[in-house]
Symmetry: C2
């Protein structure tokens, strides 16, 4: 053991401006010196008294630093032999030369591979610059400025102020029971969903619900029918588990079940939005509904029904859910509050057939344990106190007005370059473009002007014959909508 | 087309108590009648006037019901021919007989199979009744009643009251930037983690972070070293993606890296809790830390460092993170606020090597889009205003007191039946049981007395030679701890 020479010490550059405590600077210096080989295993270090003297600092930080380094296993002490760098730190484990070589090799791209799962490549999409702003036509964005924030924040405060212990500790994977009861009641009345609270799983939004479905129901390579065009988020969920997606065309009756049977034999599941197809806005016809229910019952497939924006229907009440027609418990029903309340709420739900509840709870528990309780409790009161129904009613009128303004503004252009479809319900419509116009390029252009239009083609499995832009109207005022259409038109 | 006979109508049992609107009862009746074949495609239905008269109700609800059924595609209208059941509902699609047979077959177990993913079976665990109460020794439960709820709810209210629009709309997958900045600063100072805000991903807790790691880094069949005994939640995350778990023994220096290399060649990743191993409480030695870092750099494996309860260390400051020693950016560092704040908060974080940030953001976006913004904003202020550091300091003293009370209570039993390990840090310790005592049975017994002890054996891949119970102490007062030990002892 050699004594640490005094010449060695100056390289401990202690910073005396008080930012980092002295003892921390010291222990960090020792760690680095040991790691990069300047201090060798078994090498003796100065006594705390000696080091404090050399550094002209109090002995206290030196003592703390040594104690810390000892606790971490960097230093060891022998009776009568002072303190030295732990001999349990094998030279092999340190390999300082190796570390240096590695660092430089890595910067030149020659280090060990940095392998990610194939999933990442499968899920990667081109940058979607149109999603970077919340300007006119942002899809899925409600009229935030019309949200009854005073009533809502009062409820949040009620629950945040003096929460019962039960709202702060671990909750159950299925969610806060009073909210589940309120949702079951709401869905039964408004959507003809047949369920009780035991079947409701609270999620952090419909994407989360789709992932839980995918993980509970599907194996890698399993075939899933997917509406084409359809909701890209659902495609992402199925890709996450390595499922094989079978695009099934959508016509004016919704998903073409005959085509599904022809294209995707032995499919394990189908994803559909029967009330208001995304993005074409079609309502699935009664005969197609029965056909898909019978197909599922016959083949043992699951139906994932996404009822994402069924609250808004202009003329006629919302259509009944497919789930309510299902005699074989094949439908898993998904909904969200992101669109009726506000996106940053992160509360959605899944209605699960009774015999599948345990499986979904297992997956949810493994996924992320449970949902934050505060918002669940506040939302429950928001529904029970009638704010929710009132807000939907008000928004239905407002969104209809905004939709009409959008239709009118498009109509005024009168050059037939935009053909509007899917206008009877929901929170968006689709404007088809003249053949040959690239909708992705168009959306990138409009994003530069601060408006957010989603290209229709990204909802298709293969480039469609005719592009389009999906236009959300709830989040923009009438003047913003008129301005948005002018800007959109100028990019064409 | 035959006219609907009057004799047919009485089976429309209208409920006049006002619970369900008349028009809804009517449309529901028609849907069912069409679905179960009582009304056939092409069959004529009464005029609205006629039906209203027969039922002795106003014509308005009948009109609405018909309109609804028409919109849903159940009815169609022909000029001069009145209204009939839509002929597009093919007899084949309906198959009422089939529906009936299916329903009865299913109840006798002969319906189409109800297949779940294999994942569900892999993730299923025996019921853990000890997790159903929040009594003494519940693992992971902080001292909820000492949480500064007044300060916290004030911050929540500040952000809930008049949130900027930006806090209500869609956020980014990585999280709320000011919070990420606060966390990066905190981790740099306290845990010697080297990162900036761009590397911080906000999660809904450490389980969520583990899943994102597993999905971003691992393929099915990939080998992962897992501490044995180790944290069951991590095992669940790796199982979710079908990874093959290689249990690697833990000794008094932490995970045995040599054994890992012997047992699990070509492993893609290792999961470790080096600061305070769960559940044995060991601190990983410096030589093992270097060994595992070098192994990872040499083989291209990833290190998932779970620093779940590093805030509490009794005697000596918290140990530096492994992440801070890593020269090859192989460490993904996980932390959570569930244990320092309260579990129902659902905010955690992952620190990601820079070149992996994009991949993690892709997976997180596909998983569940982003985290609720309110709590992120409130937590950011809670850290910035100094409440967080103050709370940790206060809890450190309190938990040490509670730990001491637990040790003393166990010591007073003085029969050597409980051997305590892992007492220097964190929020739990482990009491080893005499050989031959079944710890799962013991935990089930203690749960009946309202105390929650977690069996050590569930943290092992194979039944260990000696069982134990993991005892959390922060959540119980000193008298509750003393009472809990008496009850535990009485079950032995």
């Amino acid at each position: 053991m050699k004594r640490l020479s005094a010449g060695f010490l100056p390289s401990i550059a202690l910073d005396t401006d008080g930012g980092v405590p002295m003892c921390e600077q010291l222990s960090e210096w020792f760690r680095r010196a040991i790691m990069d080989g300047r201090l060798q295993p078994g090498q003796r270090v100065p006594s705390t008294r000696g080091l404090a003297k050399e550094l002209r600092i109090s002995r206290i930080p030196v003592l703390s630093a040594y104690e810390q380094l000892y606790a971490e296993g960097y230093l060891e002490t022998f009776v009568g032999a002072g303190t030295c760098v732990a001999r349990s730190i094998l030279g092999d484990a340190l390999k300082p030369a190796h570390v240096t070589v590695r660092a430089s090799r890595r910067s030149s791209g020659q280090g060990a591979p940095r392998r990610l799962s194939q999933r990442v490549a499968v899920l990667r999409t081109p940058p979607q610059t149109w999603a970077n702003n919340h300007g006119a036509f942002r899809v899925g964005l409600p009229a935030i400025d019309h949200f009854p924030i005073a009533a809502w924040s009062k409820l949040v405060h009620r629950h945040a102020h003096r929460p019962p212990i039960g709202h702060m500790v671990y909750g159950t994977p299925m969610g806060h029971l009073p909210l589940r009861e309120a949702i079951a009641e709401y869905l039964g009345t408004v959507r003809a969903v047949r369920c009780d609270a035991s079947q409701i799983l609270i999620t952090t939004g419909s994407q989360h619900g789709l992932q839980i479905c995918a993980h509970a129901l599907l194996e890698a390579k399993d075939r899933v029918w997917m509406e084409d065009p359809g909701y890209p988020g659902a495609r992402q969920a199925f890709r996450t588990v390595g499922a094989q997606i079978v695009p099934v065309p959508v016509d004016d009756e919704g998903l073409n079940v005959d085509e599904g049977m022809r294209l995707g034999r032995n499919a394990r599941a189908v994803y559909i939005s029967p009330s208001h197809q995304f993005p074409l806005g079609v309502t699935m016809s009664a005969s197609r509904r029965m056909q898909v229910l019978n197909w599922a019952a016959r083949t043992g497939a699951w139906i994932i029904e996404d009822d994402y924006d069924s609250e808004y229907r202009f003329g006629g009440r919302p259509l009944a859910s497919l789930q309510g027609m299902d005699a074989d418990d094949r439908v898993i029903y998904l909904g969200t509050f992101s669109k009726v309340m506000f996106p940053a709420l992160r509360v959605g739900y899944v209605v699960i057939p009774k015999d599948l509840v345990a499986a979904f709870a297992i997956v949810r528990d493994a996924f992320d344990t449970f949902s934050s309780t505060l918002y669940q409790a506040a939302l429950c009161d928001f529904i029970r106190d009638g704010h929710f129904a009132r807000h939907i009613r008000r928004m239905r009128a407002l969104y209809q007005e905004r939709r009409n303004a959008l239709l009118e503004a498009i109509d005024q252009v009168k050059d037939g370059k935009l053909e509007v479809i899917g206008t009877n319900a929901g929170m968006q419509l689709t404007a088809l473009l003249p053949p040959g116009v690239n909708d992705v390029a168009l959306s990138i252009e409009t994003a530069k002007l601060g408006i957010s239009t989603r290209p229709l083609s990204i909802c298709y499995a293969a480039p469609p014959p005719r592009g389009g832009v999906i236009l959300g109207y709830p989040g923009a005022s009438v003047p913003e909508i008129q301005d948005g259409v002018r800007k959109l038109r100028s990019c064409l």
